[in-house]
């Protein structure tokens, strides 16, 4: 696996790559709008996801205003509060993070990193984006329909989600389900593409065990998503039928607003099992691409090979597989069969082992490195801290009996924000600073970047670390107002106010980032093709930004793994994957 250059690898014949039929754009429309180029689709995905993500950010401000200063803002009522938390959660998890990691980073990086000209099914790839856009528009439209968006919580648990005691029962819930169904259709088209491209379109010499971990992370996450999203799909269809046609998949005999309803014979727990059969893998669908990307950021900016590459690959695959047998740890207090607790607590805590290995290997990569504290590296360090913190609190919630007092409190909110909110977003931001030069040919401003990092990282930590202790105290989540409760001291309200102030500050600091993105597009320092002196193929393209078809006449040939940094004897501290063994310049006097 590890190709030391001076040992010499011979016998790889010169490239004889048949010319692939590419779908060349014929007009402005097919170049920039209905483009079949994965890089354009990636940017479309990223911009759409970021736009709807900004809506979620504003919703979080409104929630924090209400939580920090209850009773102050007359324009927020209890119904709206529930609508805000629901839409914030759903947008962040599905429409932002999933779409950005897979549709955004996946589309941009997979073909470039594996040495392909494009995705294998470019037309389907384009359709994937347009269906995703439609899903986003349907979701956004719920803000403007009678009754507004659904306020059922992002988990959409029936019977509540479709009964009249919940806001958005008219249109909101129907459009939410429709939007999810569309999202899954769109994702499936893109996801099949990513999987087939990784398996079939790797260039000569790019064995699976030479893939950068970014590709391993996105690839495994995509396979998981293709297996997990169908559970959400059927749950959405069945809930829609319960709501529209009066079927009773999830609805037992019950009373609605004092009247016996027409429902009967269904099971609310069935929905929860389906939802979390999707929902838990979903956590790792967001986390695994982040794991992969952060590995590459750390390795590149520490000028050192990732430590324990094979273990890292197996950890990704192992986590992916295990994540399908832990879902009911979200349901310890749901009233399900109590004996399930033993099984799901055990599987959940076992997942901590491959996850811990990944953390050890990240920090061991830093050991005896040559650490350049550039903005992507800072975000990677911020990721490690927030991920370790959030991962460890997962050991509380996964351990069935410990979960009993903590479930449905602010401890859970703090935990999942740390582990699948802040941590992956640290990676997203680091990755944008890292790959922006490849996408645009210009560097992002470093001073603004460092300011952005410190405010975001320290701020996010100050928001979510103390929040765990509110949960430990017993403060429940999804509460419009805490009201009078003897166990909640006044100091807890002060803490809530503090958290809100910090949250608004962190939120506004993102505007600095947006400004940086826009300003650097025109005024940023020219980056050249490989500003970080990285080894992976996307940095070795003949043009920056890469042209249509990615490579010139010939596809690159891969001679080595993705992590040949600081190889002893080599003159440079990095050797690109496509550099033939004999082309490596040696340090003078070194044995050849």
């Amino acid at each position: 696996m590890v190709d030391i250059p001076y040992e010499g690898i011979t016998g790889i014949p010169p490239a004889e790559v048949p010319e692939v039929e590419l779908y060349h754009p014929r007009s402005w429309w097919t170049r920039y709008v209905f483009s079949q180029d994965a890089k354009v689709i990636a940017i479309q995905y990223s911009l759409t996801a970021s736009a709807i993500g900004l809506v979620a950010l504003v919703l979080s401000w409104l929630m924090r205003l209400q939580l920090g200063f209850p009773g102050t803002f007359s324009f927020i009522d209890a119904n709206q509060y529930l609508q805000f938390i629901t839409m914030h959660g759903m947008i962040m998890v599905i429409y932002l993070l999933t779409a950005l990691f897979l549709g955004g980073f996946g589309n941009y990086l997979i073909p470039l990193m594996v040495g392909a000209r494009d995705m294998v099914f470019p037309y389907v790839n384009m359709l994937s984006y347009w269906v995703y856009l439609l899903a986003v528009l349907v979701l956004a439209s719920t803000f403007f329909v009678p009754g507004g968006p659904t306020g059922a919580g992002w988990t959409l648990y029936p019977p509540q989600a479709i009964l009249s005691g919940t806001p958005g029962q008219d249109w909101g819930i129907i459009l939410m389900m429709s939007s999810l169904i569309l999202f899954i259709i769109g994702f499936t088209m893109g996801g099949l593409n990513y999987v087939v491209t990784v398996l079939q379109a790797r260039t000569r010499g790019m064995t699976l065990m030479r893939l950068p971990l970014t590709v391993w992370g996105i690839f495994t996450a995509t396979v998981m998503a293709l297996l997990a999203f169908p559970a959400l799909f059927v749950a959405s269809v069945m809930l829609l039928l319960d709501r529209l046609l009066g079927t009773s998949f999830f609805m037992p005999s019950l009373v609605e607003m004092g009247q016996l309803s027409k429902y009967g014979g269904g099971s609310p727990l069935l929905f929860q099992h389906l939802f979390w059969f999707f929902g838990h893998p979903e956590v790792y669908i967001v986390a695994l691409p982040a794991f992969g990307i952060v590995s590459d950021l750390i390795s590149t900016h520490a000028r050192k090979n990732i430590f324990g590459y094979r273990m890292m690959v197996w950890a990704i695959v192992g986590i992916g597989a295990l994540s399908f047998v832990v879902w009911a740890h979200h349901m310890y207090v749901s009233g399900m069969f109590p004996q399930f607790g033993y099984f799901f607590a055990t599987t959940t805590l076992i997942i901590a082992i491959p996850t811990a290995i990944k953390v050890y290997n990240w920090v061991l990569t830093l050991w005896r490195g040559d650490i350049h504290l550039r903005v992507p590296m800072l975000f990677a360090l911020g990721f490690i801290i927030t991920f370790v913190n959030g991962g460890l609190t997962g050991l509380f919630l996964g351990n069935v009996v410990v979960d009993v007092p903590l479930s449905d409190t602010m401890f859970v909110v703090a935990h999942f924000h740390m582990v699948m909110g802040v941590a992956p977003i640290m990676v997203v931001l680091g990755a944008i600073y890292h790959w922006y030069p490849k996408v645009t040919g210009r560097m992002l401003n470093d001073v603004l970047g460092k300011f952005h990092f410190w405010v975001t990282f320290l701020g996010a930590y100050l928001i979510f670390f103390p929040m765990h202790y509110l949960g430990l105290l017993g403060v429940p989540r999804r509460y419009f107002e805490l009201g009078d409760a003897a166990f909640i001291p006044p100091s807890a309200h002060s803490l809530n106010a503090f958290i809100s102030v910090v949250a608004l500050t962190v939120g506004f600091s993102q505007m600095v980032f947006l400004f940086n993105l826009a300003w650097s597009l025109f005024k940023g320092e020219a980056s050249g093709g490989n500003p970080w002196r990285a080894t992976t193929l996307e940095w070795q393209t003949p043009e920056t930004p890469p042209g249509h078809g990615n490579w010139g006449k010939e596809l690159p040939i891969v001679y080595r793994w993705a992590y040949d940094y600081s190889v002893p004897g080599a003159a440079e501290d990095f050797i690109p994957q496509n550099q033939p063994p004999r082309a490596t310049q040696l340090v003078q006097g070194a044995a050849s």
């Binding site: 590890v2 209890a78 529930l82 019977p159 009964l163 005691g165 919940t166 005999s253 019950l254 009373v255 016996l260 520490a302 000028r303 090979n305 430590f307 324990g308 590459y309 273990m311 207090v333 009233g335 109590p338 607790g341 033993y342 607590a345 901590a352 082992i353 811990a356 290995i357 290997n361 920090v363 830093l366 050991w367 005896r368 490195g369 040559d370 650490i371 350049h372 504290l373 360090l381 801290i385 460890l392 609190t393 351990n399 069935v400 410990v402 009993v404 007092p405 449905d408 409190t409 930590y461 202790y469 105290l473 017993g474 429940p476 509460y479 009201g483 409760a485 166990f487 803490l495 940094y565």
Partner: protein, 277 residues
């Protein structure tokens, strides 16, 4: 080295916050101190790992940050180190999981001498029911719910007649007596949540769920709903009062049974229909 120092301060600050913050769990009121102990074990183990990882990382940043002429080591793998770390992690995980599973076994094993109490949730209030002199709760069904039978008890069930029904009131429990809390909902999911009890469980329409506790101190405790149940979720409140035996029985004496409640209401209705003649 400012970055390394800040990273280290994040770890130290977190530990200090843990030790000195005023926000900690409520004084426990039931037998579930075992749960608190398990949380404490988990805090110790995870706290150690957290500080160790961050401190190591901060040291690396301090010691190995880029300087002119520095070159990184080339060090792809170290099988032995990786296996030792995996085994060590496994031991730590087992040290948290084992006590957790033992306590879970206690949690799901209801003692034979536990008395039953029923809590019913509906949007957005709590009702309670205790078995009457026969010591047994009568059957119930959502379809029986009527203005004079809000808990949907089965009128033909003799066990139901003497059940004590408490609507819009507080629940009293007796000190030291194990009690199995049966949980039922007639509309959406709710969750009977008293922070001081540690135990909680969702209430699901169409099924009866439960948890059990033994109260260990007297007092008045807030009941909250811990499962999102619609617009007024945050207002769904009641109180549980844990009494010594004498006060408990004094309270119980004053409560009305299902039989006492229904005819009274039926009588009012009959009078109204006959025009008061």
């Amino acid at each position: 080295m400012a970055v390394a120092l800040i990273l280290l301060l994040v770890a130290i600050g977190s530990v200090l916050f843990h030790l000195y913050s005023p926000w900690w769990w409520t004084p426990i009121a039931t037998n579930w101190a075992y749960i608190d102990h398990t949380i404490n074990i988990t805090f110790w183990i995870t706290g150690f790992v957290f500080v160790a990882v961050i401190a190591f990382m901060a040291y690396c940043v301090f010691r190995f940050h880029h300087k002119e002429g520095r070159r990184a080591d080339y060090n792809p793998e170290n099988k032995r180190l990786e296996w030792w770390l995996s085994v060590g992690t496994g031991v730590g995980v087992a040290a948290m999981l084992a006590p957790g599973l033992v306590v879970w076994h206690q949690f799901v094993t209801v003692p034979a001498d536990a008395t039953e109490v029923e809590v019913m949730g509906q949007q957005w209030q709590w009702s309670f029911r205790l078995p009457g002199k026969d010591g047994q709760l009568g059957t119930s069904d959502v379809r029986n719910i009527a203005p004079d039978n809000p808990m949907g008890l089965n009128r033909d069930d003799p066990h139901a007649q003497d059940d004590v029904v408490i609507e819009n009131g507080d629940l009293h429990l007796q000190m030291g007596k194990p009690v199995k809390v049966l949980l039922r909902s007639v509309d959406v999911l709710h969750d009977f949540y008293v922070p001081e009890f540690r135990a909680k469980m969702d209430m699901v329409p169409g099924m009866v769920t439960y948890f059990w506790i033994t109260p260990i101190r007297t007092g008045t405790f807030d009941v909250l709903c811990a499962e999102l149940c619609g617009a007024a979720h945050y207002q769904m409140r009641a109180k549980v009062i844990i009494d010594e035996e004498r006060e408990y029985h004094a309270w119980l004496e004053q409560q009305k049974t299902f039989a006492e409640l229904s005819p009274a209401k039926a009588l009012v209705k009959a009078t109204y229909q006959s025009g008061g003649k």
